[in-house]
Symmetry: C2
Subunit: 202 residues, 2 copies
């Protein structure tokens, strides 16, 4: 091999990260070698720290370092509305618009027969539980405008109508103002705001 063993090991570990090929792994490793001991330790520690201290919010399944997340604990948030997203990164994208002030529910995925993900693996039962408490007046289904995202939204809307037939909850879907097949995580803020404004009841 061309590298000393500990260096080859670091390059190998970095290559496992998404979007990091052999070339970038080498560049990152050489950067770390050149960085100060303190900088390397800060990076190393933050990796361990994130694994030990971050868990899922008991209410909405967003990432948090406490029992419940900052958003669920925020008294200024509108508790009558829940925005349902697939992943924590979609929640981050939504928050960046600064246009939404309700609560969230992170499904932790979408229904995908291809990848063997059924409704039971998602946090749908927990969503029904939150809605059964009666405080919520509207849920916005903000899964991606893809086949899986649309299927998941449709599945959830049917489940809610069946499980909570008497509940007066408006169920809406973010408008498909976003390019179909795209990723919520990569949409620009203006498109996301449009999609929120044009939501339609289903």
């Amino acid at each position: 091999m061309h590298y000393a063993k500990p260096l080859a090991r670091l390059v190998g570990e970095l290559e496992k990260l998404p979007g990091v090929g052999p070339k970038s792994a080498q560049r990152l490793a050489f950067h770390i070698l050149r960085a100060s001991e303190e900088e390397a330790r800060m990076l190393s520690d933050s990796i361990i720290d994130v694994k030990t201290s971050i868990s899922m919010c008991k209410i909405c399944f967003n990432f948090t370092d406490q029992e419940t997340c900052d958003i669920c604990r925020d008294p200024k948030r509108d508790r009558s509305i829940i925005c349902v997203v697939a992943e924590p990164r979609d929640l981050v994208a939504m928050e960046k618009t600064n246009e939404y002030h309700g609560l969230y529910h992170v499904l932790q995925g979408v229904i995908s027969p291809m990848e063997g993900v059924g409704p039971d693996q998602l946090k749908i039962r927990e969503l029904v539980g939150r809605l059964a408490q009666g405080e919520v007046r509207e849920i916005i289904l903000a899964t991606n405008p893809t086949i899986e995202g649309d299927t998941t939204a449709l599945y959830i809307s049917r489940e809610l109508r069946r499980d909570l037939p008497e509940a007066e909850i408006k169920i809406s879907r973010i408008a498909h103002g976003m390019p179909v097949g795209g990723d919520l995580d990569y949409a620009d803020q203006a498109t996301l705001i449009q999609a929120m404004q044009w939501r339609r009841e289903m």
Copy 2:
């Protein structure tokens, strides 16, 4: 902020890495969060390990986890020829051609008035010291074909002629078969082999 504190900290640390923007930092952090405890620990440990166990080879200034590097200790290497490169990554690029079987000398940079790097900050004195021992018959100056790389090569060839006037050492420069302004680190192997074969005495 949109992230829990330990997560924001990890994203911040990852953003400091070269070529990692806010978006990739977020993707990497979410990947680490999703990875197993063991995988995260392996990455974290390898960062610390590389900092504590990797140092510079006492002879050629390549990275090594011992006193001297694998190449300097390899009895099969031709000790009569030294290839002079700017950075360890250039040595790796050269090794990947499988065409060069001599020793190396890593300058740890190039002369760059713009970045305040003068000849004294490079390992040029150490190179002269190696050549003064009399075993070496040729040195190949394989710095990048850039203004800084060319200047550094020219400076070294003059220094050697002055400091070792009696030494019968052939000083050659890799051919500029590579696109000028390019980076040795990114050249394909065929181009590098060509550049080695077309070296000219200076």
